[in-house]
C-alpha cells in the first residue's frame, strides 16, 4: 500500500477491493431507486390529497349526485381516488336500484362492497413501492456494514505481510471501507424518513376514504 495515496473520495473508491466496489454499486443503485420512488410518491401523494379535497368540496357542496357521477365517470382515469370510490358505489347502487320494490338493504350491501373493493385497489396503488423504501431503510446499513467489515478485513490481511505495522498502512484501507457504511446510511436515512412520512400520509387518506364511504352509505340509505 502506498502512503502517498490519493485520499480523495474517488481515489478511495477506485482503490477498494472488488467486493467492496460491488457493495458500493449496489448501494448506489438502491439509493437512486429509493430517491426515485421518494419523489414519485411525494408527487403522487400531494396530487391525491389535492384531488380528495377537491372532490369532498364538490360532494358536500350539495350538488346533484347524478351530475357528479357523470363527471366522475367521464374523468375515470384522471380523477382522484375518492372520486373513483364514489363512482363505483354510485354505479352499483343505480344498477341495483332499477328493479322497483327490491330489497334496499341488499342494494346498500352491494354498494358498500363495490366501494370497498375500489378502496382496496386505491390503497394498493398508493402503497405501491413503499415496501421497497422500507427494505432499503432497514437493509442498506447492514449491506454497507458488510462492505466495511470486508474492507477492513482486507486491510488487516495486508498488514500481516509487513514487519512493522503503522497507522498509515491501515488508514487508507479503513477509510475506503468506511465509505461503504457512509453510502449505506446515505441510502437508508432518506428511505426511512420518507417511508414514515408516506405511511402517515396514506393512513390519513385512508381514514378520509373510509369516513366518506360511511357517509355515502348513509346518504344512499336515506335516498332509498
Amino acid at each position: 500500500m502506498n502512503v502517498t495515496q490519493d485520499m480523495s473520495v474517488w481515489g478511495l473508491v477506485s482503490h477498494a477491493s472488488l467486493f467492496v466496489q460491488l457493495v458500493m454499486l449496489g448501494l448506489l443503485l438502491a439509493s437512486l431507486l429509493s430517491w426515485w420512488y421518494i419523489f414519485r410518491k411525494a408527487f403522487a401523494l400531494r396530487q391525491a390529497k389535492a384531488d380528495t379535497e377537491a372532490f369532498e368540496k364538490d360532494f358536500w357542496s350539495g350538488g346533484d349526485l347524478n351530475s357528479l357521477y357523470q363527471a366522475a365517470a367521464a374523468a375515470k382515469h384522471r380523477g382522484g381516488s375518492l372520486e373513483r370510490i364514489f363512482e363505483a358505489g354510485f354505479r352499483e347502487f343505480s344498477k341495483v336500484k332499477r328493479p322497483p320494490g327490491a330489497d334496499r338493504s341488499a342494494a346498500i350491501d352491494g354498494t358498500r362492497r363495490a366501494m370497498s373493493a375500489t378502496y382496496q385497489r386505491e390503497m394498493d396503488a398508493l402503497e405501491d413501492n413503499l415496501a421497497f423504501l422500507a427494505s432499503v431503510g432497514s437493509v442498506a446499513p447492514y449491506i454497507g456494514l458488510l462492505g466495511t467489515v470486508w474492507g477492513i478485513m482486507h486491510a488487516f490481511m495486508g498488514l500481516s505481510t509487513v514487519a512493522q505495522a503503522t497507522l498509515s498502512l491501515v488508514a487508507p484501507g479503513i477509510a475506503e471501507a468506511l465509505i461503504a457504511t457512509a453510502m449505506g446510511l446515505f441510502a437508508a436515512i432518506p428511505a426511512v424518513l420518507a417511508y414514515n412520512r408516506f405511511s402517515y400520509d396514506i393512513d390519513r387518506l385512508a381514514v378520509r376514504f373510509e369516513s366518506f364511504m360511511e357517509e355515502f352509505t348513509n346518504i344512499m340509505q336515506r335516498q332509498g
Partner: protein, 299 residues
C-alpha cells in the same frame, strides 16, 4: 343464468399512471450528484491542506557563485570600486575633433578649380585617412592603456582583497583562539566552583548526618536498661532499617558486644525508642533508610 354472470368492460384499475416519473428520476439523480459533489469538494479541501512540503538541503553553496561573490562581501574592498569609472571618460573626448575640421575642408574646393579641388580633396582625404589612422592608433593605444590600467587595478584590487581576507582570517583565527581560551578558563573556573560547592555540600551533609545519627543514638540510649557486668569497651553494632516517619522496620545485630544481655537490651531499646528522630526533610531520608548504629555501655 350463466349469461347474467358475465362481467363487462375493462377490468377496474386502481390509481392511475404517475405523470411525474421522469421528473422524479431526474430529481433523484440530481440529489446524488449534489451529494457526490459535496463529498468530493469537502474531502479535497481536507486533503489539500496537509500536502507535504519538500526542501533540498545543501551541505555547502554551489561553487560558481561562491568563487565570484566572496571579495565584494569583505569590508576593506569599499575604496576599490572608485577607480573603475576613471578609464571610461578617456576614450570619449577622442571622437569629436574630426568633425569641426571637416567643415572648413569642404568649403575650400568650392572656390578653386576642379583639379585643384580634386588634389586638395585627395590631399585632404590622405591627410584625413592618416589622421584617422593616427586617431585610431591613438585610440587603440589609449584603449590598451586603459585596459592595462584596468587590469592592473583589478590585480591590485584582487591583491588587496586577498590581503584583506588573509588579515581578516588571521584576525578571526586569533579571536577564535582567544575566545576558546577564555571559554576554557571560564569552564575551569566553573568546574572548580561547582566542585568546591559539591565538597562543601558533602561535608555539610556529612556533618548533618552525623549530628542526626548522634541524636538517634541519644534517644535510643535513654531506653537502654543496662545489665550488670558489661565490659566498658564492648561495642554492639546494629543495622537498623527505617521507614519514613522514623519507625523501625527491622533491627539486625551486626557485631555483638560479646555480652548477649547487652545486645538484647540495646535491641529492645531501639524498638522502644520508636519513632527515631530522623530529619524532617524528605530528601534526606534515603540516607537514613539503613543506619549503622554503634552502642557502648559507657559513653
Amino acid at each position: 343464468m350463466a349469461a347474467l354472470m358475465r362481467t363487462g368492460g375493462v377490468p377496474p384499475q386502481g390509481g392511475r399512471e404517475e405523470p411525474r416519473a421522469l421528473l422524479s428520476g431526474v430529481l433523484a439523480v440530481l440529489v446524488h450528484l449534489l451529494a457526490v459533489m459535496a463529498l468530493t469538494f469537502g474531502f479535497q479541501i481536507q486533503t489539500q491542506r496537509n500536502e507535504p512540503v519538500s526542501a533540498e538541503l545543501w551541505a555547502a553553496l554551489p561553487p560558481p557563485p561562491a568563487a565570484e561573490r566572496p571579495p565584494p562581501k569583505d569590508e576593506p574592498v569599499e575604496p576599490v570600486p572608485a577607480p573603475r569609472p576613471v578609464p571610461r571618460p578617456e576614450p570619449k573626448p577622442v571622437p569629436p575633433p574630426p568633425e569641426p575640421k571637416e567643415a572648413p575642408a569642404k568649403a575650400l574646393p568650392k572656390v578653386d578649380i576642379e583639379l585643384k579641388a580634386k588634389e586638395a580633396a585627395k590631399a585632404k582625404q590622405a591627410e584625413e585617412d592618416r589622421r584617422k589612422l593616427e586617431e585610431a592608433k591613438k585610440r587603440e593605444a589609449e584603449k590598451a592603456k586603459a585596459q592595462a590600467q584596468a587590469q592592473a587595478e583589478a590585480k591590485a584590487q584582487a591583491q588587496a582583497e586577498a590581503k584583506a581576507q588573509a588579515q581578516a582570517e588571521a584576525k578571526a583565527q586569533k579571536e577564535a583562539l582567544a575566545k576558546q581560551a577564555e571559554a576554557d578558563r571560564i569552564r575551569r573556573e566553573q568546574e572548580e566552583l561547582s566542585r568546591r560547592a559539591a565538597e562543601a555540600a558533602a561535608s555539610a551533609q556529612a556533618k548533618l548526618l552525623a549530628s542526626h545519627v548522634d541524636k538517634i543514638r541519644g534517644k535510643v540510649r535513654r531506653f537502654i536498661v543496662e545489665p550488670p557486668g558489661v565490659a566498658p569497651n564492648a561495642t554492639a553494632e546494629f543495622d537498623v532499617v527505617l521507614i519514613p516517619g522514623g519507625d523501625v522496620l527491622s533491627v539486625k545485630l551486626r557485631r555483638s558486644s560479646g555480652n548477649a544481655l547487652y545486645d538484647e537490651a540495646v535491641e529492645r531499646a531501639i524498638m522502644r525508642a520508636q519513632p527515631l528522630p530522623i530529619p524532617p526533610e524528605p530528601q534526606l531520608f534515603p540516607q537514613f533508610r539503613t543506619l549503622l548504629l554503634q552502642f557502648r555501655p559507657q559513653e
